[in-house]
């Protein structure tokens, strides 16, 4: 195991992992406040990517109901990104109002909410396909001026990481810092944590739980939109189903890090990314099993995840 290969694999792991991390942040935020797993995150992140695509003035292909449609605007990428993420945020709120709120007011089992979110995710993804067709799309590339990869090694011994992945890593750290600041240092954050602890008591204490839950979905949806767009930048929008595969791996990430733990989402993502990067070349066929094997192991050995606190069972 020479030094260069080792460094390459570490950087690969961080790159792969940061993609998982930004996805998991929105996922775990909902869990941290509401104790539910929101499968629609994958569908909403896809919607965000499509919305950004539309806002850059690009055209949709031939296959959906909206064949050949374009918006009359041509926003630069960053503005389109913000716009697209707003669309996801709004979608998240709509989903919350229509699907989750009724379940919450009836005190439904979180497992029921999980199934409901699955149903909504399936419906959303297929509506997206119905409207836009199944073709892959690519954003007009804002990073095309930059070289495609960054060299962390030397000219003779290159250790390359794709530029867009460096960007994603940077964004994940920024998001982590912002979210942690929000949760720990602001009043809103304290209120959110109170709601997470006990919804009834919080509302008795005068906290507007409904508005806060709405806020949670807005933030989570916005994060999802940013994630979808950035990943779409890195690998193209692969089609309406491209969010669903992340939903499953995302589960492994948030459990590994600790369900509901925000830094845990990033740690979990990076750990899984590193594990995947270090799979020896001859076993690469089993790489897909790695996140789930880790998930299984963590559940058996330390279900609260790497950063979570052990749950105390109250009788």
């Amino acid at each position: 195991m020479n030094g260069r290969l080792f460094l390459q694999q570490v950087l690969n792991g961080l790159a792969i992992g940061s993609v998982y991390a930004i996805f998991a942040l929105g996922y775990t935020l909902i869990f941290s406040v509401l104790r539910i797993i929101n499968f629609t995150h994958g569908a909403i992140f896809t919607l965000g990517a499509y919305a950004t695509y539309a806002l850059t003035g690009s055209q949709f292909g031939i296959n959906g109901l909206l064949a050949g449609a374009t918006l009359p605007v041509r926003l630069p990428f960053v503005l389109a990104l913000l716009g697209g993420s707003l669309v996801s945020a709004v979608s998240g709120v709509i989903v919350e109002r229509l699907a989750f709120r009724p379940l919450r007011t009836r005190g439904a089992d979180p497992l029921l909410t999980l199934v409901s979110s699955l149903g909504v995710a399936v419906a959303l993804v297929n509506v997206t396909q119905y409207l836009f067709g199944a073709e892959p799309y690519s954003f007009p590339d804002p990073l095309s001026e930059l070289p495609s990869a960054v060299n962390f090694g030397t000219a003779g011994q290159p250790v390359l990481v794709r530029t867009v992945q460096v960007v994603i890593f940077g964004v994940s750290i920024v998001m982590l810092v912002l979210l942690t600041y929000l949760m720990n240092a602001t009043r809103t954050g304290k209120a959110l944590r109170a709601v997470a602890e006990d919804t009834t008591t919080s509302s008795l204490l005068g906290i507007d739980t409904d508005r806060l839950i709405l806020l949670t979905f807005v933030i989570s949806g916005f994060l999802g939109g940013v994630t979808g767009t950035l990943i779409g930048l890195s690998v193209g929008i692969a089609g309406p189903y491209f969010g669903i595969a992340f939903g499953l791996k995302g589960l492994a990430v948030i459990v590994l890090g600790g369900l509901g733990d925000i830094p845990g989402a990033v740690v979990g993502g990076l750990v899984i990314g590193l594990a995947e990067a270090f799979v020896p070349a001859q076993y690469i066929a089993y790489r897909e099993a790695v996140p789930f094997a880790l998930l299984f192991l963590v559940l058996l050995v330390r279900p609260q995840g790497l950063l979570g606190r052990a749950q105390v069972q109250k009788v």
Partner: protein, 312 residues
């Protein structure tokens, strides 16, 4: 009638098999455990039958003997049972969402293994699986007795001590344990019974769809099973059965409705292609308006079926 049977024979048997699979989710649920591991054992059972019938047993040409299918089912059941105990013992110490996640992980790992072994044929899978019957409808000879037997088994289970222990665990695990009910033993029992049943269904299915590969028995199947139970009814065994029957038929019924002449073309096309949208919306609506599913013990009581015991 003949056209109906010829068109829908495959669907009818699929419905029956889906109802049995729904029961495999219901069994651990009786003990309050959401385990979506059944698709893994279903896949395993299918591979057992596929490998035995194509590589081990070398029957004469013509129809494959039903007795061999029954043997395959038995072998599949035993293998699934053993794996069920092996996986269940460590996994069932987990509760609630953690157990659900562990079983999701289990199914994913099995899928990757199936893609990589030579004996399972990798992505191509195993095809040309011999047929024990001349027509698809005759698979009912296997599917219906299996369904009735499993329904009978579960119905009786609810009345025995073991069944009551499972229900006690569902209501309050700590209290039940304090009262002397061994949680691990009972949970593993339900889990293993579920695995055995799923393996048997898998064995039949491999013959039924002529081919078996890693795309049978995946997370998508788990989603379907959850829909069957949660929409059909999670508090009585009739629920999952009805859920399995109805929700399996639904996409194809929508296809049939789309074929009715006289519908505006965009609507007919939507019914055909939008089946998955409708399915997803139905699941979401179902969980909101019918959280215990359509079939509840209360409903059965009102219809004059079912016992007066059992809480709603």
């Amino acid at each position: 009638m003949a056209t109906f049977l010829a068109t829908y024979d495959f669907l009818l048997v699929s419905m029956a098999l889906a109802a049995v699979l729904a029961l495999t989710l219901y069994l651990p649920l009786m003990a309050g455990q959401l385990s979506v591991a059944s698709p893994g054992f279903y896949a395993l059972g299918g591979y057992v039958a596929a490998i035995l019938s194509t590589k081990v047993f070398h029957p004469a040409p013509g129809l494959y003997p039903v007795s061999l299918v029954l043997i395959e089912m038995a072998v599949a059941a035993v293998v699934s049972g053993i794996l069920g105990i092996a996986v269940g013992l460590p996994a069932l110490r987990l509760r609630g969402i953690f157990l659900a996640l562990a079983t999701i992980a289990f199914v994913q790992i099995l899928g990757v293994v199936a893609l990589n072994l030579d004996v399972t044929g990798g992505a191509i899978g195993i095809f040309g699986i011999p047929q024990p019957f001349g027509s698809q409808l005759q698979y009912m000879w296997l599917a219906i007795p299996l369904l009735l037997l499993s329904m009978l088994f579960v119905a009786r289970l609810e009345r025995t001590r073991t069944g009551r222990a499972l229900i006690a665990l569902r209501e309050d695990e700590l209290a039940a344990a304090a009262m002397g009910v061994d949680p691990t033993y009972h949970k593993v029992l339900a889990f293993t019974a579920s695995a055995v049943l799923a393996g048997a269904v898998g064995a039949i299915s491999a013959h039924f769809i002529n081919t078996w590969n890693s795309r049978q028995g995946t997370f998508d199947t788990s989603v379907n099973l959850m829909a069957f139970v949660l929409v059909g009814g999670s508090r009585t065994f009739v629920g999952p059965v009805v859920g399995g029957l109805v929700l399996t038929a639904l996409p194809e019924a929508l296809r049939g409705v789309a074929d009715v002449g006289g519908l505006p073309p965009w609507f007919a096309q939507f019914l055909r292609d939008g089946r998955l949208i409708i399915f997803g919306v139905l699941i979401a609506l179902g969980t909101v308006f019918f959280p215990h599913g359509l079939i509840t013990p209360g409903l059965l009581g009102r219809l004059g079926l079912g016992r007066r015991t059992g809480r709603v």
